[in-house]
Subunit: 205 residues, 2 copies
DNA sequence: AAATTGAACGCTTTGTTGATTATTCAGAGA
DNA sequence: TCTCTGAATAATCAACAAAGCGTTCAATTT
């Protein structure tokens, strides 16, 4: 069996175990048994148990990222609308994922505790999408706030932090969270488009 | 001794103990001993140990609130500037308080875990100040965003959540946090004043 | 030589026990 | 009657032992 095939087999077995019994209640010996190999042999393919979890999370997250990338270039929508869709999709996905599946919550907690880098990596990926979204808006001649886009994206993420892993910080329900995110975005977006406002104001005058 | 005097005495003794040895390492018997009474008697004045901690936190926080109220009407500053001062003061105070004093961190953690209501109460108090700040700005003829001020204040708090108990959510240093808060506020404030921008734009044209 | 195993190691978790502590309350004292 | 005490109670915590698990590596198989 090729190295890649073995890795995939391990990831598949671990994914089954983790989602059935949880990360903590799954042993390396069990995963190895499912792959018809010894526990020790797993370490030829992964540095450790956490790295298997990380590989699973990465795979899952890449799918999500692709989904977000599509939203960021949704036809028939302008920049602010796309940003709104992006952040709402993010909120809904993580909410549902962590809400209905306690195993997913456990894995999220373990990974973000033991591998803080991972959360940074996710943030950086999404920031990149936001930057591209702004660049695309600029290309289409829409108003885009002046200044370093990277930095603006960072601030957007800071301001919407509360909605990224909602259930880690509050016990609010999804509808309440959506209302709040809506309000925050209204402030942010109008802030991001002062000239559009100005133009409307001029037209009215 | 009057009931109130006894309460004050208990609060004082507990404050000394808590800040010297921490909440967990202080026993009710010790606090009672400092007050020259029995442990059981403490329960005539407070429902429990946590309520003593809450009383101390409340007293301390009321001072802080008064300080914030002054900032919210700082002369020679307009609404956005006052809001900025308010939020920066909030960030600096909590950062320093929790940074240099592990006892304060312990008490903050205990109270916010066992008495989640308390954090809500603090948020509501600060929200009230923000609303008053906006009303004052309106009275002075400044631009104030349309809509329910209560709700706007809520959104401002959502967007600046990351800076409220900074060390519970990230390991960022104060300078980095200040830079981020500055960036977020730039977005928010410009969003809160589209007509001011519009006016500038018109003047330039 | 390369791949794989499984026993051995040390760390973390779990279970258990005993002691400490918050809280209660019957009764003593004012 | 009202205040207060201190012993009784129940919950929590700390310390320790045992078990389980992730990880390593010398030995074995391919």
């Amino acid at each position: 069996m090729s190295k890649d095939a073995a890795r995939d087999k391990i990831i598949y077995a671990a994914k089954c175990r983790f989602s059935h019994f949880g990360y903590g209640k799954t042993t390396m010996a069990e995963v190895a048994g499912d792959c018809e190999m010894s526990a020790g042999n797993l370490y030829r393919f992964f540095p450790g148990k956490l790295d298997i979890a990380e590989a699973i999370a990465t795979e899952d997250y890449e799918n999500h990222l692709n989904h977000l990338r599509k939203i960021a270039v949704l036809p028939g929508k302008n920049g602010p609308e796309r940003l709104r869709e992006l952040l709402f999709e993010e909120l809904r996905r993580t909410y549902h994922k962590l809400e209905k599946d306690p195993r997913a919550l456990e894995m999220a907690q373990v990974i973000s505790r033991e591998r803080p880098q991972f959360a940074n990596w996710m943030l950086a990926n999404e920031r990149k999408i936001i930057v591209e979204l702004m660049e695309e808006s600029e290309r289409r001649g829409e108003y885009v706030p002046p200044g370093d886009k990277q930095e603006i994206a960072e601030m957007i993420q800071s301001a919407t932090m509360k909605f990224r892993y909602p259930q880690l910080w509050s016990k609010l329900t999804l509808p309440k969270l959506e209302r709040e995110l809506d309000g925050v975005l209204k402030l942010l977006i109008e802030g991001l488009c002062p000239l559009r406002m100005a133009a409307q104001h001029e037209n009215a005058a």
